[in-house]
């Protein structure tokens, strides 16, 4: 229990350092990029408006004072109001969170459904000829960026065949293409890792012992290879989950999926700094919780880790 608390504490420290670095960077970037009051007032604003904004936001104070105020606001989770629709930035961003989580879960689900069986099949006998074909396909597909996949899928299924909608928000069918895009983008990597871990277990001593004892191939695969292989796969899935929360940026943009990524792109285009900051913070928090949960999952799944440090 004490160790578990220690692990959580170390993650928490990481989060604090990360958020501190990000907010300081954002603060400096915003102040370095010119007079923020002019930026906030927009083009063609009168000097009175600019002065009012300057006083309102406290830009007339010294840089250090501003920084302290800024940090205090961040600690209280007060990111200010969006410059576009003047809603509180954090609340505005949080409204889009469920939508991103929805897409993320779908993508992770289908990604695992495709990749884990494929990886197991590939890893069980990697030298068989037809499995080599799959492995060649996987290495070509690996690294194809999500936006290329997304655009090609839209071109084929929405434009040419007109089977599936390419814009989000038009019912369940509109989930298909974004989910497929993200799954196809993530699957090759997962297939490779699953295959490599399965292959790796076949070289372990316990596996050889079980084989020598006359265990059937099916039992060997399911009872001896799979649990250990999936353990190392889980860490990649966690990383992919964290990646999706922000990396779905481009996919959300392509399919106009109303999530964090789309909000981020829009607020960056509008130079809406409170919203940018709130989005980055929300993503950082989510990544933190995903990592925390993954730590615990490992502890539960792998008895060896319960005894070891951290």
């Amino acid at each position: 229990m004490k160790q578990r608390l220690k692990a959580v504490g170390s993650r928490l420290l990481q989060l604090v350092v990360l958020l501190g670095t990000i907010s300081t960077t954002l603060f400096l970037l915003l102040r370095l990029s010119g007079d923020p009051a002019i930026l906030l007032a927009g083009e063609g604003a009168s000097p009175e408006t600019i002065n009012a904004i300057r006083a309102d936001y406290g830009f007339d104070k010294s840089l250090f004072e501003q920084y302290l105020i800024f940090i205090w606001d961040v600690v209280r989770l007060d990111f200010g109001r969006s410059l576009v629709n003047s809603q509180p930035a954090l609340g505005f961003v949080l409204k889009y969170l469920p939508s991103t989580l929805h897409l993320t879960f779908l993508a992770i689900l289908f990604n695992s459904l495709i990749a884990i069986p494929a990886g197991v099949w590939l890893g069980a006998k990697p030298t068989q000829r037809r499995r080599r074909v799959l492995s060649a396909i996987v290495s070509v597909a690996q690294g194809t960026p999500a936006y290329v996949i997304g655009l090609l899928l839209i071109q084929i299924f929405s434009v040419w065949f007109n089977w599936l909608p390419s814009i989000a928000g038009t019912g369940t069918w509109s989930w298909v293409l974004p989910t497929a895009t993200l799954s196809f983008a993530l699957a090759p990597n997962l297939i490779r890792v699953v295959a490599a871990s399965i292959e790796d277990t076949t070289r372990q001593d316990y596996f050889r012992t079980a084989k020598a004892n006359g265990a059937e191939p099916r039992v060997l695969l399911i009872r001896h290879s799979l649990p250990n292989a999936l353990l190392s796969t889980t860490s990649l899935l966690g990383a992919q989950f964290a990646f999706l929360l922000s990396g779905a940026l481009i996919t959300e943009y392509i399919f106009a999926w109303p999530g964090l990524g789309l909000i981020l792109v829009q607020s960056i285009t509008n130079l809406d700094f409170p919203t940018i900051q709130a989005t980055v913070f929300v993503v950082a928090y989510l990544v933190f919780f995903v990592n925390l949960i993954m730590d615990q999952v490992f502890r539960i799944a792998d008895p060896r880790l319960r005894r070891s440090q951290l």
Partner: protein, 290 residues
């Protein structure tokens, strides 16, 4: 002539992936070499000036006599613009990888070499860097700093170091326990000299592999940013920009998309293949299974 008995074992280890390393290396080196030559001597490969506008030629479909890959909404030649995109993408990829490599290697080696607080501190920094999705940071920095070749290259370099640092860190940790490094220390050879003459040369294969993968990743990140309209200045002939422009014309002019898509896929495939090839060669040399 009979092969020595070790041969089948190593061949299965490498061949198990469906490739053998020399071919992978040769193919990827050939493709990448060609692409870099195109990037360096791009004016020789243009069909017409990539910036030339001719509205009378707008949205023409690909043809052997006219524009090979068609023309876009402004009548610009897609083929010539794809060629022009090579310099931008490969340039940013190369510079970004160099910067990220420099930071990553310095941090990784110093974290592994130092046994005291510095190691704890640096490995925490690396952990944090790895855990956070860097694209978000890159997007934000580029927005504020401004778009352009150098700002993109520097930003991507500045955010790409954590992976490199982690790999270098892990490898240095094992290297510093080797006998020859210990022997050198016992002979009174200083840290810096030992790092430069014992650690860094031994790290080279690892660095090559991770650099090839970083290069591919930066290419994806760069064209992704441009695709979102947050990277290259609008109108610059880059693959991401071209893809972004093509979205409006998917029904009427799908060829606007195909040129840059092919260029992106081929380049990234070649870079990944280079990484795989280097990795396979390294594994077959050391006989180690990873």
């Amino acid at each position: 002539m009979k092969k020595p008995i070790v041969w089948p074992i190593t061949r299965r280890e490498i061949g198990g992936k469906g490739h053998s390393s020399p071919i992978m290396l040769k193919v990827s080196a050939f493709i990448l070499g060609t692409l870099f030559i195109i990037a360096l001597f791009q004016p020789f490969f243009y069909r017409v000036d990539p910036a030339a506008l001719d509205l009378s030629l707008r949205l023409q479909s690909p043809s052997l006599s006219g524009a090979w890959l068609g023309t876009d909404a402004l009548g610009q030649d897609v083929y010539s613009r794809v060629i022009a995109g090579f310099r931008w993408s490969l340039g940013i990829g190369t510079i970004g990888t160099l910067i990220g490599g420099l930071i990553g290697i310095s941090l990784g080696v110093s974290a592994a070499w130092n046994r005291k607080r510095l190691r704890t501190f640096l490995s925490r920094v690396i952990d944090i860097g790895i855990s956070f999705p860097y694209l978000i940071i890159a997007v934000t920095i580029v927005t504020v700093v401004g778009r352009g070749f150098w700002s993109l290259a520097l930003t991507l370099g500045l955010v790409s170091w954590p992976t490199i640092a982690r790999v270098v860190y892990a490898e240095t940790l094992t290297l510093r326990e080797r006998e020859y490094v210990t022997a050198a220390r016992l002979f009174g050879i200083g840290s810096l000299r030992s790092i430069f003459s014992h650690i860094l040369p031994a790290l080279r294969p690892t660095i090559q592999v991770v650099a090839a993968f970083t290069f591919a990743e930066l290419l994806i990140a760069e064209s992704g940013l441009s695709f979102l309209g947050l990277g290259a200045p609008l109108g610059t002939p880059t693959w991401g920009n071209m893809l972004n422009e093509s979205r409006t014309y998917m029904a009427s002019a799908p060829w606007m998309m195909f040129g840059p898509v092919i260029a992106i896929i081929v380049t990234i495939f070649a870079a990944n293949l280079l990484g795989e090839g280097l990795n396979a060669r390294e594994r077959s040399r050391s006989g180690r299974v990873s």
